[in-house]
């Protein structure tokens, strides 16, 4: 196990290096931020002055190696617009995104896994069809449509929840719950569909195995057969999809963050892209890549817990 972790950490270094290289040079193709910094009414001379002051007139290789040296000192750089360190900006924004990801994945798992198991158990029946309908809807309805639907009904019409915003649970837990509920429901819809489908397919496969028949023959109650024997043996693909779901949620909730005005990482990266704020974009993409690497490692470790046959 320790050698697995060590190998994975070492193999992450070239992965991050390639990501850094691609991100750096792709970004340079999209133009530079000097004109945006200068503003609409700036003269060309002002734009040129800013370009020089930001070091954007230096050769690309010089800029790249400067950035790599910075990274080796664990410094992601400083925002060209705000003058704040990228690490500070990430620290300011990570909590809302992490909380939204956490509540979404917890709610999705709590709903989707029983749904998937039930659908598999009653495969071909009306429960199965109902679950499949929910899954198709979950995949088909765009997140923003679901967001507006929930806002209109539960925030504007019924006034049960606020329209927008985020409050840290460590500041005001009640307010946090009211604000995070609609975004969580919005995002969960698609993850419930994803996890429920995978769960259903895995459990259906397992339910045909001999040991399930044996468990039933021994008189085990159906709930125990389903959740202790079938689900446990079907867990590997489910764990995979949940793990990747968390990674996707960390970097991919920009629409939900926009619809509910949650100041998270998704919005930070989109805002940085529209302004061409290189250090933020580069820093965040590296950060997202790191999260993927770490989560994949965690998923591999969890495999050994849910399936003792897996050994590294």
């Amino acid at each position: 196990m320790i050698s697995l972790i060590a190998t994975r950490i070492l193999s992450a270094i070239p992965v991050m290096g390639v990501v850094a290289l691609i991100v750096f040079f792709m970004l340079r193709l999209s133009g530079d931020p000097a004109a945006i910094l200068a503003g609409d009414t700036a003269s060309s001379e002002q734009v040129d002055r800013i370009r020089v002051s930001l070091g954007l007139t230096k050769p690309l290789y010089e800029q790249f190696f400067g950035w790599i040296v910075q990274l080796l000192r664990f410094d992601l750089g400083t925002s060209l617009f705000t003058g704040l360190p990228v690490t500070t900006l990430i620290a300011q924004r990570i909590e809302p995104t992490a909380m939204l990801a956490l509540t979404t994945i917890i709610f999705s798992v709590l709903v989707a896994v029983p749904m998937g198991v039930l659908a598999a158990w009653k495969s071909g029946g009306w429960i199965d069809r109902l679950v499949m309908v929910v899954c198709v809807l979950g995949f088909s309805v765009p997140v923003f449509v679901m967001g507006y639907f929930l806002i209109f009904n539960f925030a504007i019409t019924l006034r049960w929840f606020p329209v927008q915003g985020y409050t840290s649970p460590f500041t005001d837990f009640g307010r946090f719950l009211t604000q995070i509920t609609l975004p969580t429901l919005t995002l969960s819809f698609i993850y419930i569909a994803l996890i429920a489908r995978i769960t259903r397919a895995s459990v259906i496969e397992v339910l045909g195995e001999d040991y399930i028949r044996t468990a039933r023959a021994k008189g085990q109650i159906e709930l125990k057969v389903l959740f202790r024997h079938a689900l446990k043996n079907a867990a590997v693909p489910i764990v995979t999809v949940i793990g990747l779901g968390v990674a996707l949620l960390i970097g991919g909730v920009v629409v939900t963050e926009s619809v509910y005005n949650i100041p998270g990482l998704g919005r930070l990266v989109v805002d940085a892209i529209t302004r061409r704020d290189y250090p933020i974009i580069q820093g965040l993409i590296l950060f997202f890549a790191l999260i993927y690497v770490v989560l994949n490692l965690i998923i591999d470790i969890v495999y050994t817990l849910v399936d003792p046959r897996i050994r590294y």
């Binding site: 910094l37 609409d40 700036a42 003269s43 002051s53 619809v259 005005n261």
Partner: protein
């Protein structure tokens, strides 16, 4: 064990009911409204740059007016009035201006405002702002005479000294401590350096760039005794706190206003106005009587639009009324304006304006032919993420095709437009022919303040590099004019010259109203200022 349909439904109901019932408490939801004394504002853009002088963005100007103060300011009639200054003495030869600071001025770090600080602030602003740079070509020195007197000495008399240092809009000559003002303009002031003497203090700890900015009332601010009028008069603050909350999605912003979670929505998009105007508890009003002046700027040095006759033909083809209908829609919020100055203001006139006032596609075709146009490509930088600009570009592309031009409308976001338009290359090598934007009325009031009228070409004009020594002569004459009558005469001549040269097409005047809760009062007819506002 078997699970019945009833069990399943009961389980689902318990799950949903538990979630909704446990969390959906109306008292909690209603508690999201901003507390009394706090004005929660949706600004028109996200604030990321905090230096109030180093960039021209309107959002930075608005931030500047909260935290910083000015020596002079314009009132509702656009007359320049003392603000931090108690008065100004001008020598008989009009070469020396002695500006005296009023009592009680303190920086947010609790040190006294000095004349030295203000002299450095003026110098910093004079390096950046178009009007400031012109002023400083006449300035011999800006120094202090003791702690309260700023002395500005000129090389030759200049008619726009007060108009320059009292200008309303971007870049505003905001005052700051000398140690900050002495920084090069390419080094922007950071969140740690937001030290002004304005009526609000910047709360650094609550600053979330792109998401939230918080200001608290500056209890040590001493307002003038005159009533507030535009940027002039007493800046009396009735609020304890102003929070700018940036909303990337206009629908969510609207919903937040309707539900009372925010109090003030600075610029409501035209397509959302019908919904807002029906919402209970929400008022809609235009607080910017000068409005915005739309503009289609030409590349004056490269491609077919380097030819003034072709630029005139394009102007002839554009029908302002049609364009505004397409871009704005609701006639309550736009009007045609064929002057280069905002209609209804001092220098509004009709010289040369028949070019646009009587648009005609047939005449435009004839003018194009006479100009020698031969099917060369016209590259329109068509902004996609700003609806008004997008509509202007689409309308113009259609019109130009109808008069026989070879149009290449390239769709891109505004950030890309800002970059592309700095290119001086030919159109087939990344260059461009036209882009669309607008200026606030306060930024185009006269021939000098209106940067788009500069004829300095690549040596200092706006992008598009309009090059016309005759125009520059006229602008200099305007700046040195001794009377309002002379200024008006020259402003007309400038307008006539613009319509001959046609550096840009003026696409009309439009207004973006503000939405606010009905418990908010005292909003000034001005850019978004937050003094004088009361929240019941």
């Amino acid at each position: 064990m078997s699970i019945s349909r009833r069990d399943l439904m009961a389980g689902a109901a318990a799950l949903t009911g538990g979630l909704v019932g446990g969390l959906a408490r109306p008292d909690l939801a209603l508690a999201q409204a901003a507390p009394k004394g706090t004005l929660r504002v949706i600004p028109h853009a996200a604030l990321t740059i905090l230096d109030p002088v180093a960039t021209t963005g309107y959002i930075v100007r608005n931030h500047g007016y909260l935290v910083y103060d000015t020596l002079f300011a314009q009132d509702e009639n656009l007359a320049v009035k003392p603000q931090m200054a108690s008065g100004v003495e001008v020598s008989a030869d009009k070469l020396t201006y002695r500006i005296t600071l009023r009592d009680g001025l303190i920086w947010h770090d609790d040190t006294a405002v000095t004349a030295d600080d203000c002299a450095s602030s003026l110098i910093r602003w004079g390096k950046v702002d178009g009007m400031g740079r012109r002023l400083f070509t006449y300035v011999e020195s800006v120094t202090s005479d003791g702690p309260k007197v700023i002395v500005m000495k000129l090389k030759t008399p200049y008619g726009l000294v007060m108009e320059s240092i009292g200008k309303l809009s971007t870049n505003v000559p905001f005052m700051m401590p000398k140690r900050l003002a002495d920084k090069p303009t390419t080094e922007r002031l950071s969140a740690d350096e937001q030290i002004g003497s304005g009526p609000f203090r910047f709360v650094k700890g609550d600053f979330r760039p792109g998401a939230r900015v918080v200001y608290e009332r500056n209890g040590k601010y001493v307002p003038r005794t005159e009533p507030a009028s535009n940027a002039a008069g007493g800046k009396v603050v009735h609020l304890e706190r102003v929070e700018w909350v940036n909303f990337p999605d206009p629908n969510t912003a609207l919903n937040a206003l309707v539900s009372g979670e925010v109090d003030y929505y600075e610029q409501i998009p035209a397509d959302l106005l019908p919904i807002v105007s029906r919402a209970p508890g929400v008022k809609v009003q235009n607080f910017n009587p000068l409005g915005n002046i739309g503009m289609a700027r030409f590349n004056n040095i490269s491609g077919p639009t380097a030819n003034p006759a072709i630029r005139r033909a394009i102007a002839k083809a554009i029908n302002q009324s049609e364009l505004l209908k397409v871009a704005i829609g609701n006639p309550d919020f736009y009007k045609t304006c064929y002057s280069v100055y905002p209609c209804g203001t001092t220098f509004d006139n009709t010289a040369g304006s028949e070019l646009m006032a009587k648009s005609s596609l047939d005449e435009a075709r004839a003018m194009l032919k006479a100009a020698g146009y031969n099917g060369e490509k016209i590259v329109l930088l068509a902004t996609t993420d700003i609806p008004v600009q997008s509509a202007m570009a689409q309308y113009t592309a259609d019109v130009l095709k109808r008069i026989g031009m070879n149009v290449d409308a390239q769709a891109m976001d505004w950030a890309t437009v800002l970059q592309r338009r700095t290119s001086r290359n030919p159109t087939d090598q990344g260059g461009w022919s036209m882009f669309f934007t607008w200026w606030e009325g306060a930024d185009v009031l006269d021939p000098v303040i209106q940067f788009a009228l500069s004829g300095l070409g690549t040596e200092g004009a706006w992008v598009g590099w309009s090059t016309d020594p005759d125009m520059e002569k006229l602008r200099t004459q305007y700046a040195e004019a001794g009377s309002l009558a002379d200024q008006k005469r020259i402003a007309s001549a400038v307008q006539a010259r613009q319509f001959e040269q046609n550096f840009q097409v003026y696409t009309g005047q439009f207004f973006v109203p503000t939405g606010f809760r009905d418990n908010v009062s005292g909003i000034l007819n001005a850019p978004p200022f937050f003094w004088n506002i009361k929240k019941a």
